[in-house]
Subunit: 333 residues, 2 copies
């Protein structure tokens, strides 16, 4: 690269500044929505002001998180829900967080294709976010994508994630309604309990309800529900619903439960608390990511401090404060 090489946006004449996309996003342009989500996913600094502006137009959509261990049948369920909501005339948005495992790539691609069929038959917008190479940035980008769909008039917006990993949990707790999907015979229960996912469910769905071991899984979950106190500060009783995404059985019951939970949040006033929790999760998650990014950018500065610590010229606490730019904290703690 020479010093005179034009920067990438300048060379590509077709590049539209993010700020110019905002009005089109707000009027619901599918192309503008897709572009803005791509820029959020890539983490373009140029898009940050536009995303801030878009955020001001959010808060209308019902955000639904669907989570469960791999193999529970999340993507198939989401495809069925898209059809169910679309047949009611709702403009459904879906952001699927792809676990991006090299081993399951094929199967996941298959799921996405199946989901796209559902999308094509309706007004739905389906987008898969890649986790590869994003690490801490995934949750932020995913929720910014939800913002874009919200501002563009989509509702409900479904976030589909596997229920493991800090980012995935962060994403799903940013939903108004959390659906946890279990499958009979997968040993999900134990895994989900470990991940703390069952406790945060507003609705439990048990997939493959045509299987002979499905009633036992439903009974086990219902039994577990009677033990727990439910969500603090809420009198919502999380229902346990058997579903079959293949036959479409009980999908409308699940859809109704999702809508009923949204009505409950608004009627009871619990929505305000939920919104505050979502805001807190998003701020802290973003702060954590900015913090990690800073160390990635400042490698030289970090390594200078590392050498000072190795040389015993400075202790790790002082080095950490200097690196954070919190010099005044050095004396405090």
């Amino acid at each position: 690269m020479t010093a005179f090489a034009p920067s990438r946006p300048a060379r590509r004449a077709a590049y539209v500044a993010s700020a110019e996309l905002v009005p089109d996003v707000l009027s619901g342009s599918v192309l503008a929505v897709a572009r803005m989500i791509s820029r959020a996913e890539a983490g373009y600094a140029e898009a940050s002001e536009a995303l801030s502006e878009i955020y001001r137009h959010t808060g209308k959509a019902h955000v639904v998180g669907i989570t469960g261990v791999p193999g529970a049948g999340k993507s198939t369920l989401v495809a069925a829900l898209i059809k169910a909501f679309a047949s009611d005339g709702q403009k459904v948005g879906v952001i699927a967080v792809d676990p991006s495992s090299p081993f399951s790539g094929g199967a996941i691609l298959g799921d996405r294709v199946r989901m796209s069929d559902a999308a094509q038959s309706s007004q739905a917008f389906v987008r898969s976010m890649a986790t590869r190479g994003h690490l801490g940035g995934l949750a932020r980008a995913t929720l910014q994508a939800v913002d874009v769909l919200d501002a563009a008039g989509y509702s409900p917006i479904i976030i589909e994630t596997v229920g493991v990993g800090q980012d995935e949990v962060e994403v799903v707790t940013a939903a108004h309604t959390i659906v946890v999907l279990s499958a009979p015979g997968l040993g999900d229960d134990i895994q989900a309990i470990k991940a703390g996912i069952l406790e945060i469910a507003d609705i439990h769905a048990v997939s493959k309800c045509d299987r002979p071991d499905a009633p036992a899984a439903v009974a086990a979950l219902r039994g577990m529900m009677t033990l727990g106190p439910g969500r603090p500060g809420s009198d919502w009783q999380a229902p346990v619903l058997p579903v079959s995404s293949v036959s479409g059985e009980h999908i409308s019951e699940l859809k109704d439960a999702i809508s009923r939970h949204w009505d409950h949040l608004r009627d009871s006033g619990e929505l305000h608390d939920r919104e505050r929790n979502i805001g807190r999760t998003r701020i802290l998650g973003t702060a954590r990511q900015l913090f990690q990014d800073r160390f990635k950018r400042d490698v030289t500065e970090l390594e200078t401090h590392v050498q000072a610590v190795v040389d015993r010229a400075m202790d790790p606490s002082v080095a950490a404060c200097l690196l954070l730019g919190w010099e005044n904290e050095v004396q405090v703690k």
Copy 2:
């Protein structure tokens, strides 16, 4: 409490300022060492300058991390190692990180008592750090306790931790020599692989070598070793050593392997890289904790920002930057 109540240190005439303890720590006073470690553990702001000063006198000790899943027999092994090192005339320090589980409290107490017997019969200093109520501060306090022992002339210093959890892994990777203890029949292998612990071992020990299934566990680990490339940038071949802490069998071989690894680090020049890695781990770990503490202190500020985000007056990214005190980053990213 009235406005005139004296602060706690003033009321307790016996309280010695941390700065005054430093010379006694450096001359090896057991009382001063114990007090300084207590202050590191409690996170007293008053002690931070003294701990910085103490850090300048570290870098002499050989720090040995011993890790393995609960039930592998770590505490018993550590007690046997104390005796073995002490019989060579070495001044052994031990910092044990207590998992603080309410269910295993009794057993752990038993182990500690057994370890103290070993300590009493020698020049060893044994200290158990509580994890309860510390969260992110555990790694920092534990490594500051190691600093205190280092400055006071203890070597080797053994850090004993369970090999699960971010803090525990952070602590053990701050050792020069990492011993991973497995037990036959515990299914450790899979759990250790999951935690990424096996890969970081400089020495593998297999406990309970008098059990009939011990040879199979040793063979499985040796087989696994031939698969992996070893630590990057090192030509050290991690040995797999069967031990029996109860009968004392093979303990001296393990002790010799630990000493041999220390010689290898110094002779090969790998010690410098190891020290840099340790410094980097400690700086980043401390920075992460300072960051978490900041949000705990600034609850009002955080909640003000949460409301602004709920009201769509501010997006989560801007709120995160303001909260971090990194206003200048708002436009950058």
